[in-house]
């Protein structure tokens, strides 16, 4: 019996592989977008009281996340609601997590009730109808609690597919010791930034103003700040234009930096990069407001060296973009969506925020962003600077109107193979962006979208 099974497995596997491996792989990996539609806004509309009732009734839900504060949050939640049991699962960070989530949703079972989803990935899960529209629980009434940019980020079309967990308005983190050593002023505009890059690299060829070896998250945020809107989605119609005014405005600044070798090619988040944080060979980092938590937990060697300044702009007027940030969403597979939604509400609109902030998270809620004890808190890692003053100000100056692609995760994975080549060759980034766009148009049309048609 067992051996018979085994043989059948193997033979079947062999035949499948030999004859149709390629089609199966395509079928396995693709087919995520396009099919189905976000038609879950109908149905019975439950009130916020229904969520309270679900909490009272209790039950068990599973929550997938890689948020560092998740353990503390879940513990606090179960103390507050002893009837509810939350299974906390760290299924991976970023792409690992998404692959597993996608597999479980496709398989029809095994998906969590609540999952962390980054803003950039949300359309990819919301459009095929994998997520519960939280308007049916009346959570759309919470709009005024959040910053406009994060509130927009949790919407796809009209649907509300999560509550913002954090936000990542961008700022410039700079190594003050390096700037002081070479007598360089902290740049306020991109022109000054370029000048600083030249001066620094000329003074010591080992020093770089920053690193960029082709990071799609950084690129999209930079285009965002420059006012570009390269991706627009309307139902199945998708427009991709990476040659729009904003994109060109950014490449006009970034091209010289890359072409003259003024930015280091160290890949972000590599161990070399963490070394750079600690030893000052990378002088600035332009990232989201969640960055202080990363500094403190991962580069204790750089303590005292770093400061925060507003992100440089094109005209000296404050303007920034979001970079990173996540929401918690309720997966349609959930057997207890009301309880799951209640948990999400607690996490990102209730008592879950406090443990999140204690672990160095940066909030999306207006109340916490305005809280003087948060805003004015001196940060010893940054030499006592009140970093949140800079970061909360950034939250107010996010350029409006941005949206991500409905297949942004895929787009990110091919960025290195297309646009990334321009960084290595130190050639024109516009050509790289065009190559990225061509690949994306092709892929989107294969997935059943109407891209640039």
């Amino acid at each position: 019996m067992k051996i018979g099974h085994r043989r059948r497995f193997r033979r079947l596997g062999l035949i499948l592989a030999a004859l149709t491996a390629s089609t199966l792989i395509l079928a396995g990996c693709g087919g995520s977008g396009g099919s189905g539609s976000a038609n879950d806004s109908g149905g019975t509309k439950a009130s916020p009281q229904a969520l309270d009732a679900a909490l009272k009734k209790g039950g068990t839900i599973t929550y997938w996340t890689w948020t560092p504060s998740a353990e503390a949050q879940v513990k606090a939640f179960m103390v507050e609601y002893p009837n509810v049991k939350v299974n906390l699962v760290n299924a991976g960070t970023g792409n690992d997590h998404y692959t597993k989530l996608q597999n479980a949703i496709k398989a029809g079972s095994g998906a969590p009730d609540v999952a962390q989803i980054e803003y950039q990935a949300l359309p990819q899960y919301a459009l095929p109808g994998y997520l519960v529209d939280l308007r049916q629980y009346g959570l759309d009434s919470l709009e005024s609690d959040y910053t406009p940019s994060t509130w927009r980020a949790v919407h796809v079309g009209d649907g509300l597919y999560g509550l913002p967990q954090d936000s990542g308005p961008m700022a410039m983190f700079y190594d003050k010791t390096v700037f002081d050593k070479y007598h360089i002023d902290v740049p306020k505009t991109w022109d000054e930034y370029t000048a600083a890059a030249k001066k620094l690299h000329a003074a010591d060829p080992k020093e770089y103003i920053t690193n960029d070896s082709g990071d799609p998250g950084f690129t999209t945020s930079m285009i965002w700040q420059a006012g570009g809107k390269p991706f627009t989605t309307d139902g199945k119609k998708v427009t991709i234009n990476l040659q729009d005014e904003g994109s060109k405005k950014w490449t006009a600044v970034w091209n010289p930096l890359v072409q003259q070798g003024l930015v280091s090619q160290i890949p972000g988040w590599s161990d070399e990069w963490f070394k750079g944080l600690a030893n000052g060979t990378i002088a600035t980092m332009i990232y989201g407001a969640w960055m202080p938590g990363v500094f403190e937990s991962s580069a204790p060697g750089g303590s005292g060296n770093w400061r925060v300044a507003p992100m440089p702009t094109y005209d000296g007027q404050p303007a920034t973009a979001e970079n990173g940030g996540s929401t918690e969403s309720v997966i349609k597979q959930s057997k207890n969506p009301a309880l799951a939604a209640a948990f999400v509400r607690w996490l990102n609109n209730g008592n879950g925020i406090k443990p999140f902030l204690e672990k160095g998270g940066f909030p999306a809620t207006v109340k916490d962003l305005k809280d003087p004890s948060f805003v004015n808190k001196p940060d010893p890692y940054f030499g006592g600077q009140q970093v949140n003053q800079v970061l909360t100000a950034a939250a107010d100056s996010v350029v409006p109107g941005w949206s991500y692609l409905p297949f942004e995760l895929y787009a990110n994975t091919i960025y290195g193979d297309t646009a990334g080549k321009a960084y290595q060759a130190k050639s024109d980034l516009n050509g790289g962006l065009q190559a990225w766009q061509d690949a994306l148009v092709k892929y989107g049309n294969q997935q059943g979208f109407e891209v640039n048609k």
Partner: protein, 305 residues
């Protein structure tokens, strides 16, 4: 693990080729070849040395001191302790999972390959040639290419996210089967089987008491191959499992390594490095214990006709 295999493999080859050139029985000495060997040994050992040294460093030292230089403090024991207790000691759980997958998966694969290879070598039955073709074909297909179809099949059967998703595919080892087949052809004389049959032994008894002993070096070879490939199995569990409780060490450590990324990044490189060191220790031990069998298994069959 190739690092520890390679010197073993390379040595007999080098000796053999010098011997042939001087066409004498005494092994010849060649400075060039010795030099190449030394370089090769250094090349294969440096990553291991790096791993051992790095496992003694704290997260801060890992990022601030040179790779092969010692850190400012000797943190091996605190690293080990932290690795074993991090996130409620999930490392130990992964270790136990890996052991389970290896014992059942690699053990089962060895047993099945041995029995099947022996059967194909020593019995004549219709369809033998077809099986031969299928096995040869199976060796040519990398397991990675089969991972996605296997996932889809298992997903339809509702077996993903169970230990069977890892164990069942690792039971299949076409290469092991082929090796045992070829080995059994040579190592078990037909005359011996006939003698045993005349003495009245049944086929199973012959297999267990007579043939298996003759096949021992081959079995160890297959076991070692299966052991290493199951121990290092990464892609299959990566796509099959989404419950961290079922992860083997490979996937678990990658998860730790990947958490140094993006918002909420929390790098634990010291634990990844220490965990990797702890992960390869059992394999090294097994190699030392079994290498004698393994070597004789490699060369057996090469001269006997």
């Amino acid at each position: 693990m190739t690092a520890t295999m390679s010197p073993e493999q390379a040595q007999p080859v080098a000796v053999e080729s010098t011997g042939r050139r001087s066409s004498a029985l005494r092994p010849g000495k060649s400075r060039v070849l010795t030099g190449v060997m030394v370089l090769y040994v250094i090349y294969t050992l440096i990553p291991l040395v790096w791993l051992v040294i790095s496992a003694t460093k704290t997260q801060t030292d890992l990022l601030s001191t040179a790779g092969l230089a010692p850190g400012h403090s000797f943190a091996l024991f605190s690293n080990i302790k932290e690795t074993l207790t991090y996130r409620d000691g999930i490392f130990l759980r992964w270790f136990a999972n890996t052991l389970l997958y290896v014992v059942v998966g690699a053990g089962g694969a060895t047993l099945l390959s041995t029995a099947a290879g022996y059967g194909l070598a020593k019995y004549r039955f219709p369809g033998r040639r077809a099986v031969f073709a299928v096995v040869l074909g199976a060796i040519a297909i990398p397991p990675t290419a089969l991972a996605v179809p296997t996932f889809l099949m298992f997903s339809n059967m509702g077996l993903t996210n169970t230990v069977w998703a890892i164990i069942v595919p690792s039971l299949v080892s076409p290469f092991g089967l082929y090796l045992m087949w070829v080995y059994a052809e040579e190592a078990v004389p037909q005359e011996l089987l006939e003698a045993a049959r005349i003495d009245g032994a049944g086929e199973f008894r012959i297999f267990w008491t007579v043939s298996l002993r003759l096949l021992a070096p081959g079995v160890v070879t297959v076991l070692l191959f299966a052991l290493v490939s199951t121990w290092n199995n990464y892609f299959l569990p990566l796509i099959m499992l989404s419950k961290p409780n079922l992860y083997p060490l490979t996937v678990g450590l990658t998860q730790w390594s990947n958490q140094a990324h993006g918002a909420g990044a929390h790098p634990v490189y010291n634990l990844v490095v220490t965990g990797s060191l702890l992960t390869i220790v059992p394999l090294i031990v097994v190699f030392f214990l079994l290498q004698r069998f393994w070597q004789s298994g490699l060369s057996a069959g090469s001269v006997k006709q």
